[in-house]
Point group: C3
Amino acid sequence: MKLDRSRTLIELSQLLNCEFVGEVNLFASGINEIHLVEPGDIVFVDHPKYFDTTLNSAATVIIINKMVECPAGKGLLIHDEPFTAFNELINHFRPFEFSQHRIDPTSVIHPKAKVHPTASIGPKAVIGSNAIIHANVSIGHHCSVGENTIIHANTTIGSDAFYYKTRPEKFEKLISCGRVIIEKDIEIGANCTIDRGVTGDTVIGEGTKFDNLVHIGHDTKIGRQCLFAAQVGVAGCVTVEDKVTMWGQVGCIANVTIGSGAVILAKSGIGKSLKGGKTYFGSPAGEARKKLKELATLSQLSK
Amino acid sequence: MKLDRSRTLIELSQLLNCEFVGEVNLFASGINEIHLVEPGDIVFVDHPKYFDTTLNSAATVIIINKMVECPAGKGLLIHDEPFTAFNELINHFRPFEFSQHRIDPTSVIHPKAKVHPTASIGPKAVIGSNAIIHANVSIGHHCSVGENTIIHANTTIGSDAFYYKTRPEKFEKLISCGRVIIEKDIEIGANCTIDRGVTGDTVIGEGTKFDNLVHIGHDTKIGRQCLFAAQVGVAGCVTVEDKVTMWGQVGCIANVTIGSGAVILAKSGIGKSLKGGKTYFGSPAGEARKKLKELATLSQLSK
Amino acid sequence: MKLDRSRTLIELSQLLNCEFVGEVNLFASGINEIHLVEPGDIVFVDHPKYFDTTLNSAATVIIINKMVECPAGKGLLIHDEPFTAFNELINHFRPFEFSQHRIDPTSVIHPKAKVHPTASIGPKAVIGSNAIIHANVSIGHHCSVGENTIIHANTTIGSDAFYYKTRPEKFEKLISCGRVIIEKDIEIGANCTIDRGVTGDTVIGEGTKFDNLVHIGHDTKIGRQCLFAAQVGVAGCVTVEDKVTMWGQVGCIANVTIGSGAVILAKSGIGKSLKGGKTYFGSPAGEARKKLKELATLSQLSK
């Protein structure tokens, strides 16, 4: 997420009421998770295991729970609870906007878009030309729907990421300030759910088609011209390249990449990254030929 | 789909701006896919593999991309892109009606039906006596719900078929002009999705009960007194006969038949037609006894 | 379900127009299924196999289809169709209330709760302080949502139990008069469905988090600080103890108990009760280590 305007390290330390290390006038212009950071970004780290990666990342400002040596050109914000501090910054820069309107007045709907009288469009959401938004669809704040796109009834675009920090006595929610970007020429079936990115974007690529009851997790990128049949579920932070087909009820674990042109047969469970151009089956999914041979072997042995 | 009135072959050729072969005054009265055609119907074919089947089908008018010999009593419309031409005819005879009303004024709701103030009823939809339509349900255009039927909240009836032609650079959508017919004494759970037929009807038989989050694909026929537990998904063009039970999270591939009285155990994946009166398990599903024996064999071998 | 006020055995026999055995002035104060009965409750039994259990249960009044000896301190209502009679009592004491209002005037919404202008709140439902109810959520009659709870768009709370008696020619619905109780500090994802109890309550425990498209059946009790990923489905009458994790697309059969701290890996199908503190996998689910070894054995044998 980009900030509305840049903030200095000292401003940030005052906001969080914490110490800082680094140049007072260092500027931060965005806020992101570690796997998305760009120069100018604020990031957080709270486990020594990830200190080095984070300190050496592109991030400009690092919220950290230990006084460590500050890398050149960066700033540190020393805070007991970096996760909580990160949430504080999100709340400050993109405070949760609960719309009191079915169609929020800050949304932008193209005059050639069709929006059913029961659909909801949140704050700062954008609906493109010739998009068709069916009954009871909910488009969350800051999400966008491209031109020539159809979204069927009762679908939810922009629900929060399923992302918590496990504390001894509760789960602490990481506030989602990212977006869902639905490119153009897309069709999303009925009763689907697409979560927003935590700080970045969940993206559905041009020309992709989803059947009903499909779930897409936060920060996942779906390529162009993919086909997902009904009840497919893809977890967060997944990269699905172009022209991937997933048949009915396929599931996919978080943080993996599915190569271009891969075909995943129905009911498979993807547990690791898969190379493109091949057909997969099973749970955990492997090459279909091998998995089907295994089933034949078992059938033979059982006789 | 039946046309509002019959059209001559010459009228159709003018509509599509294409050549024709056959009697000028031949009448077409309907439009259908090949597996549904009846005498009087218009159908399309664009692959030589299916030319014979289509030319010998009950269809009266065939949109085809090659000049072939015209069977007696039939007419041909010669068009480079039969799929696109078929869509043009659907758009002409049943133009997409996007309602601007929550309850479309052309819908017919029985005075003894109960419709929640947040439910949507599309153009020409019909709701029968004593039907109960819960919050945020969407009943699409031309769909019908029989008497004594309950539809729980957030369910979508009449979303479009998931049906595309793969072009080199995009998926071309086959426009759905069919309906969903929900007969009487039926209960449909919350957040279910039932797609309309492409040109024919998706049918849910009398006395059948669905739990929540069930998906039914286009043109599928579900028999009488079936029980589908939560999260079952049945693809398009499936025939499920009477008194079939599918337990939770069962999936079923397209174009198969499930015989009367079959029981499919939870999480099974149906990959072929199944005979009635038996119990099935596994993915791909087989007779439960055999599949459970295979699992026991594997457990034994692994020790 | 508790009755609004106690009824005597004779009042009940008059209501049902049936014979009774026992003291005329015996009082009934509630109505429940056999697994939930407490002293004061009315229960029904219609199969000789369950006569003894029911007659010896805590129930005070038993609707039964055979004249049997009446246990001391209890009353019997002799009725040909106890199931139908039970439904009659539910209809009498808690008649189905179909709200004509988006926000029913008998609901109680805390002034600090945020309810989206498209969400529905049914009769006598209660929404706690700082609860956030997103677009198109449906909260059914008599259900309650605790403080600091978030319910994402298009979720259905309080759909009816999927519970029928199989008659030769139809399924007879058992009318659901129970509730859904969502305790505090809970997050429920988008397009989830939580069924109400038949006569008791479906309960979601404090601090528990659900991702999208999760289904919970009637009378199921989910403990505290559980995490359910997307598309998990748990059937009716299940007890899930505290701190249980179910990953994506896990399914769970009815009437089992999942022990505290159990972790169920993605796509598993739970077919029996599972002890706490362990990790499970497969369908049917077993200890993950054993199941993964079986898969390795099969892969080896197939080479």
